[in-house]
């Protein structure tokens, strides 16, 4: 049994963890939920050995445990699977799986790659996936990378003679529904040999896979439940401190779109990605696109956002035919793009909140050809108040903000730039439930203001809940269109049937 007792940890000025007790029993999946900032990540890092607690003890089978880094943790059979991007894309699958553990295959200083490749194949076979171990990680899907990560964590079995503890940090956030099923099946089948800690924002998932669930709030564990004893809404209430609104997607605020057509695509296509796509987005309308990875929906958002030039068909914005070759041109035509990779494409993390808000359009704070810092600050403060952005101030670097607040900054930027079209590419990825709700609220407000919105999302729920109409794509084509106006929301199953 792996246990943490009385763990406290504080960073400059903030208490990240306060007197936390948790235990992970053999052959058990433990869920860990909480809003962003509740202390989940810090706790996970302490369990994984990359952070050290200020006070409290970790014990493994009753023995006190001191870990200085990830390597020490690995030595005790504790491995971690990170949410994304924790494989080295420039290296092969096998090299990734045994990264840091090459010594097992080393004779006289020379690494035996063939042995390592064979061992990697065995590892992958254990979890029942068939991936070429000599392929570079950059060529894998997210799902495949997640499997490789799992295999990497499981290699500890060979060097540690006790059941493993595997920490899964939001492993599902980038996976499609079907990939999640695969992952869960693997986890269940591995339970006999290891215990897992599972972190996710999706409460249903947590309940589905876990035996017990810890709920964290403000750096402390506030509840512990057996999964069968509790429901998602109940957990939500504990976590957020208020009930899950029946109206999660604020359907009552869903307006009827106006008649003015803002975006019109006719027979739009990009060679090798999608073709013959035609739709109209009216002012105030939210169009959702459902589809699996590779269906072409991502590329549509990239095309309208200006990243991926169309190769066929016609795109019209406010009656004007356009063909974007860069996001700059799209921004000029008042299109705003909210990317899924918030940290990479959404914000310049080292610039301040104010600077990020005016990034797309500085002209509103330019006076006499020069940036007026007072005006810029004022503008930023306005947005901070209006969108309730939690930040130390307009001058704070964006990287210090939580995901939800970062997303609000991105939205504020496009509002400042006067965007009439917003492309929401997985707008709530990585956000906790409370932050999601705030984003939904904002999206409704924007829609009410007459902004045309194109949405792609991780979950069908969200797509259906938010949209006025939903298009389903498969293999680069639109296969179906559903009306999703208030009270006429289609069923997920109907959509799924068209997707696969």
């Amino acid at each position: 049994m792996f246990a943490a007792n009385g763990i406290s940890k504080s960073f400059v000025g903030t208490h990240a963890l306060k007197n936390v007790d948790i235990e992970i029993r053999p052959n058990e999946v433990v869920g860990l939920i909480g809003e962003n900032g509740a202390g989940k990540s810090t706790l996970m890092r302490i369990l994984a050995g990359t952070h050290r607690p200020d006070s409290g003890t970790l014990t493994l089978d009753g023995q006190p445990l001191r870990m200085r880094n990830a390597r020490d943790a690995a030595g005790h059979g504790i491995g971690m699977v990170f949410q994304e991007q924790s494989l080295l894309l420039n290296m092969t699958v096998a090299e990734n799986i045994y990264l840091g553990q090459e010594h097992q295959f080393t004779r006289f200083g020379i690494v035996n790659w063939r042995a390592m490749n064979d061992a990697s194949r065995r590892q992958l076979a254990k979890i029942g996936v068939d991936i070429d171990v000599t392929a570079r990680a950059s060529g894998l899907t997210f799902a495949a990378r997640q499997m490789v990560e799992l295999a990497k964590a499981l290699t500890l079995e060979e060097s540690v003679d006790r059941p493993l503890v595997i920490l899964l940090d939001e492993p599902t956030s980038v996976l499609s529904a079907s990939d999640i099923d695969v992952l869960f099946a693997r986890v269940k089948s591995l339970k006999s040999r290891a215990s897992f800690v599972f972190v996710s924002h999706r409460l249903e998932e947590v309940l589905r896979i876990s035996d017990r669930v810890y709920t964290m709030k403000d750096g402390a564990v506030v509840a512990e439940h057996r999964s069968e004893d509790v429901t998602a809404p109940a957990l939500h209430e504990i976590m957020v401190g208020r009930g899950l609104q029946t109206e999660y997607y604020k359907e009552s605020k869903q307006d009827v779109p106006r008649s003015e057509v803002i975006v019109e695509a006719s027979k739009l296509g990009v060679a090798g990605a999608f073709h013959d796509v035609s739709f109209k987005i009216h002012a105030g309308e939210i169009i959702g696109i459902a589809g699996v990875v590779g269906s072409g929906r991502e590329e549509i958002t990239r095309t309208i956002g200006g990243f991926l030039p169309q190769t066929e068909g016609k795109l019209t914005i406010k009656g004007e035919a356009v063909r974007f070759t860069s996001p700059e041109q799209a921004v000029r035509k008042s299109i705003g793009y909210i990317p899924r990779e918030r940290r990479v494409e959404g914000l310049v993390m080292f610039l301040s909140v104010a600077e990020n808000i005016t990034l797309a359009d500085l002209s509103c704070v330019m006076r006499g050809g020069a940036i007026n810092y007072k005006e810029e600050r004022k503008l930023a403060v306005d947005w901070i108040n209006k969108l309730r952005i939690k930040t130390p101030g307009p001058d704070a670097a964006c990287r210090k903000l939580s995901g939800g607040n970062q997303q609000k900054v991105v939205l504020a930027r496009w509002m400042t730039a006067g965007s009439r079209v917003l492309i929401l590419d997985h707008p709530t990825r990585g956000l906790d439930v409370g932050a999601k709700e705030e984003v939904y609220d904002l999206v409704r407000d924007l829609s009410a203001q007459g902004i045309a919105i194109l949405l792609i999302s991780d979950t069908l729920d969200e797509t259906i809940g938010l949209s006025h109409r939903v298009f389903v794509m498969r293999d680069g084509e639109v296969t179906a269109e559903f009306d999703a106006s208030r009270g006429k929301k289609p069923d997920q199953v109907e959509l799924l049937r068209e997707m696969v």
Binding site: V12, G13, T14, G305, G306, F307, S326, P327, E328, A330, V331, R332, Y337, P339, E341, V344, E345, G346, L347, V348, M349, F350, L351, E355, T358, L359, A360, L362, M366, G369, A370, I371, K390, P392, G393, D395, A396, A397, R413, A417
Partner: protein, 322 residues
């Protein structure tokens, strides 16, 4: 409560971080003054400033490029070329030779930028190569020799060597260039966009910033300022030569980084470069003043560079130190 506290500590940190390089500068001056009393006179300081001028102007140009996350290794060749053009044209064109020489810097700066951006060649290699091209061109233009600016031409360059109210004109030019660059970086659209490109290129691109144009402008500025530095050098030395600005490249880059600008881009500015250039100058001249053994000069210089960077660099704002 908690938030406002954070804010204050952060401000304090930023303030402290900003104050470190100038503080180091003052400490160095004091060390030299102690080692060699008499250093701190108006005359020596004027000498120090005018010797720093050319280095500072070059370094300011490179600052623009380093801020966008690139590097410009062609500046010494461009400066030399500008000196050659000036020396060649002064007899026939008089003062008009100045804009022509500086325009050449602009053109080759743009060329570097275009090679880097359009051909997607890393700036390190692109500018190393354009530097070679420019150096060859300077050799060819000068027919391989130093061109003396004769008596007649010197009438047109003497204003650069003059002093106004006791301040050397070169210092005034450097201050002008520095001020314009500072204001440009802080208050212009380009300045903001170049910081954004340096700190997070994909996000800047996605926000609709014309990344390519921003980069080319940065290289154009670097080329232009290199040419201005070259022109000043030519006026000070009364000649143009294809090898005039050799050996100025590394001190210029060192000045930028010693000032605390991150070599990875996105953080820093002209003010820091001014401090960095002064630090480099003081160390160099200070060694002569204090009488450091000539054989040990390089060793001291290298050690001071490392120490200076270790002191000035703002680690809290740099993700990964490579």
């Amino acid at each position: 409560m908690k938030n406002s506290f954070d804010f204050r500590t952060m401000l304090a940190n930023a303030w402290v971080q900003g104050a470190i390089p100038p503080a180091l500068l003052v400490v160095l001056v004091i060390i030299v003054e102690i080692g060699s009393p008499g250093f701190l006179t108006g005359e020596t300081l004027a000498l120090l400033l005018s010797n720093t001028a050319v280095l500072f102007i070059l370094a300011t140009g490179v600052t623009f490029v380093i801020l966008i996350g690139g590097i410009d290794l062609s500046i010494q060749a461009v400066a030399s070329l500008a000196s050659v053009i000036l020396a060649q044209l002064l007899p026939s064109m008089g003062l008009l030779a100045f804009p022509v020489a500086i325009a050449a810097g602009l053109v080759f700066g743009i060329l570097s930028g275009v090679v880097h951006v359009w051909l997607r060649v890393p700036s390190f290699v692109a500018t190393l190569a354009t530097g070679g091209v420019v150096a060859g061109m300077a050799l060819w233009l000068a027919n391989g020799r130093a061109i003396t600016i004769e008596e007649g031409g010197r009438a047109s360059t003497s204003w650069i060597n003059a002093t106004i109210a006791g301040t050397p004109v070169v210092v005034l030019i450097a201050i002008g260039v520095g001020l314009a660059s500072y204001l440009g970086l802080r208050y212009s659209r380009f300045g903001r966009q170049s910081l954004a490109v340096g700190a997070g290129e994909p996000a800047a691109y996605a926000a609709g910033i014309n990344v390519d144009r921003t980069k080319i402008i940065a290289f154009a500025l670097s080329g232009t300022l290199a040419a201005i530095a070259g022109v000043i050098l030519a006026a000070r030395l009364s000649s143009g030569s294809p090898s005039l600005a050799n050996q100025l490249l590394l001190p210029a880059i060192a000045a930028v980084i010693v000032g605390g600008t991150a070599i990875t881009g996105g953080l820093g500015g002209v003010g820091r470069t001014a401090v960095g250039a002064l630090i480099i100058s003081i160390v160099r001249i200070g060694m002569t003043f204090v009488g450091v053994n000539i054989f040990a000069e390089n060793v001291v210089f290298g050690a001071v560079l490392i120490a200076a960077v270790a002191i000035t660099i703002d680690r809290s704002k740099i993700a990964i130190i490579k």
